[in-house]
Amino acid sequence: MLYREAGQFKTSYAADQQLFPIRQDRMGILILLAVVFLVIPGVASEYWFSAILIPFLIFSLAALGLNILTGYAGQLSLGSAAFMAVGAYAAYNFQLRIDGIPILVSFVCAGLTAAGVGILFGLPSLWIKGFYLAVATLAAQFFIVWCLTKFPWFSNHSSSGVISAQQLIIFGYEFASPQEKYLLVLSIVVVMALAAKNMVRSSTGRAWMAVRDMDVAASVIGIRLMPTKLLAFAVSSFYCGVAGALYAFCYLGSVEPDGFSLDMSFRILFMIIIGGVGSILGSFLGAAFILLLPIFLDIALPWAAGLLGLPFSNATVSHIQVLIFGALIMFFLIVEPHGLARLWQITKEKLRLWPFPH
């Protein structure tokens, strides 16, 4: 009833091919954008900005990057945190070593640096795939973090490779409060998410999906594997790199290489599994889920323990968190291999027919 496209006629190709062909979707997106840009900055508290919203947006961006690589192009990667580290350190060094470079330009350059590194570590994907490639990306994970720790040049000779992000000044305006940083991160994420959404429905995206489904068949129908796969690595690493730069500049302020651990790579991987492999929306849903679950468990577990009269130590709570994480991963893979995004899609299908399902 509310969600139906009956009566919406497309009279031009442009109208037929637009990003959100259904009017209700367009309105939904506009309302969502209005809420996140106008309403949330007014109502959210400082804690919400700096502990939930900003990391959520940053990890969504990283998950988006991994989703392009794993979900669309089918190349499994366990090194996304390392590419975030490259982005963070590159942005820091561009700011440090080039006088007067605008911060946004250094973010873009950081993304491009990460893309370059991504292409380098994506080269093995040309002759290996699957698990073998996963191990190759593990090499990236360990090697990059080690390099950033051991070569003092990257961190400007600070002890143990810690860097402190420079001030965020754009056109003479300093983004200092969590609220301003939130708006900055949000704008970047929205632009990049739209770009990704468009990219995956272009011929590039279709080529990625063909390679994902079967690369030999894709090359038979004339898709050149090398540029396609490497482009996927480059774009994915670009997204991860920008996410890393934002992670350092807008979220933590100071980071060390060991912060970008294998554990973080796995968390990003879980985000796309739970959110939905091969879905832009899924990256956001998965990031929200993975970030909110520990916060929820932190509150719920002691409460449940009090209710049952069991003494839970902090260590036990963190173990239970890990256990629930693992159980959820398996649960999602068994019940809904396409993740939360698929559930949303089913809901929409149902809504189209509601209240007369036949």
């Binding site: 093995p124 080690w146 720790t149 051991k150 260590a315 173990h319 256990l323 629930i324 893979l333 068994i334």
Partner: protein
């Protein structure tokens, strides 16, 4: 030269320890095509259950039997509740499910048995062998030699088991072709349960060796990560490959750790310890350039 030999031998012996973990991967992968990322977590679970059985007062042999029962039950439960539900899914999905399984075990094991690091005493002392120290002036650990012996025994037993028993033949048949095996009446699901039981057993042996050497602690789960380059070099489907790969990784990483930092220091200055952390992966990466299917792996043929 003396020093080089000492590093080499110690590297080879520690490579045996990697091979022990890699074996568990190979067995499951051969029989069911599942790349079991949870093998490292299983090593941790096995070592923890041995230690806590001994803490409860059980002698070593009883603790080992109890731990074996726990691991077998766990393996069968995994097959029944996770993998059976994922039949016909792409391998990547199965792989990610085992990552979930790894997290599940890593949370469950400390809740069941406690998370503090503990020592596991097998009655073998980790000390240099006096005879070698005297005559060649090399430090070779007694414990490492025993570990190598255990690994050799394990591989021989497995090889005999695969070659000469009924179940072993069935396992090889399943590994070759699921459908063909099914059609001649091999019960696929029993076989998978058995494979997971054997993987649990291998994890138990590896867990006891690693636990006795480094203490039973959470870091045992990382042994799985070290086993991955071993698998790349040896091939995913070959038992001897796991051993040879383990030896190559163990030796080369110890040699790199000793001989590379001074070279890099003279080139760039600074401190370059910790090469061990990434060297096996980069080595495996270069290995993939030359032989993508590993030393003993089967050549992969794509069919469209």
């Amino acid at each position: 030269m003396q020093f080089f030999l000492e590093v080499l031998i110690n590297g080879l012996l520690s490579g045996v320890m990697y091979a022990l973990v890699a074996l568990g991967f190979v067995l499951v992968y051969k029989a069911s095509g599942v790349f079991n990322f949870a093998q490292g977590a299983m090593v941790y679970l096995a070592a923890l259950s041995v230690v806590s059985c001994m803490e409860k007062g059980a002698p070593l042999w009883l603790a080992i039997i109890l731990a074996f029962i726990i691991m077998t039950l766990f393996g069968i439960a995994t097959e029944k509740f996770v993998l059976r539900k994922l039949v016909n899914q792409p391998p990547i999905t199965l792989f990610m499910a085992t990552i979930g399984l790894a997290f599940f075990i890593e949370g469950l094991a400390p809740i069941m048995f406690g998370s503090e690091p503990r020592a596991l005493d097998l009655g073998i002392v980790d000390e240099p062998i006096a005879a070698i120290l005297d005559s060649w002036d090399m430090v070779i650990s007694k414990f490492d030699l025993v570990a190598a012996g255990v690994a050799a025994l394990l591989v021989t037993t497995l090889a005999l088991f695969f070659q000469y028993t009924r179940i072993g033949r069935a396992l090889r048949a399943v590994a070759d072709d699921h459908q063909a095996a099914l059609s001649i009446g091999i019960p696929l699901q029993h076989i998978w349960a058995i494979v997971w039981g054997i993987a649990g057993f291998v994890a138990l042996v590896a867990g006891m060796m690693w636990g006795a050497r480094n203490g039973v602690q959470f870091a045992l789960t990382f042994t799985a990560l070290k086993a991955l380059p071993v698998l790349i070099i040896g091939g995913f489907t070959s038992v001897p490959g796991a051993i040879v790969g383990g030896l190559i990784i163990g030796a080369s990483e110890k040699l790199a750790e000793i001989y590379l930092p001074p070279v890099m220091q003279s080139m760039f200055g600074g401190n370059f310890g910790g090469i061990e952390g990434w060297f096996p992966y980069v080595l495996a990466l270069f290995f993939l350039l030359v032989r993508p299917e590993g030393l003993f792996g089967e050549k992969h043929i794509d069919r469209v």
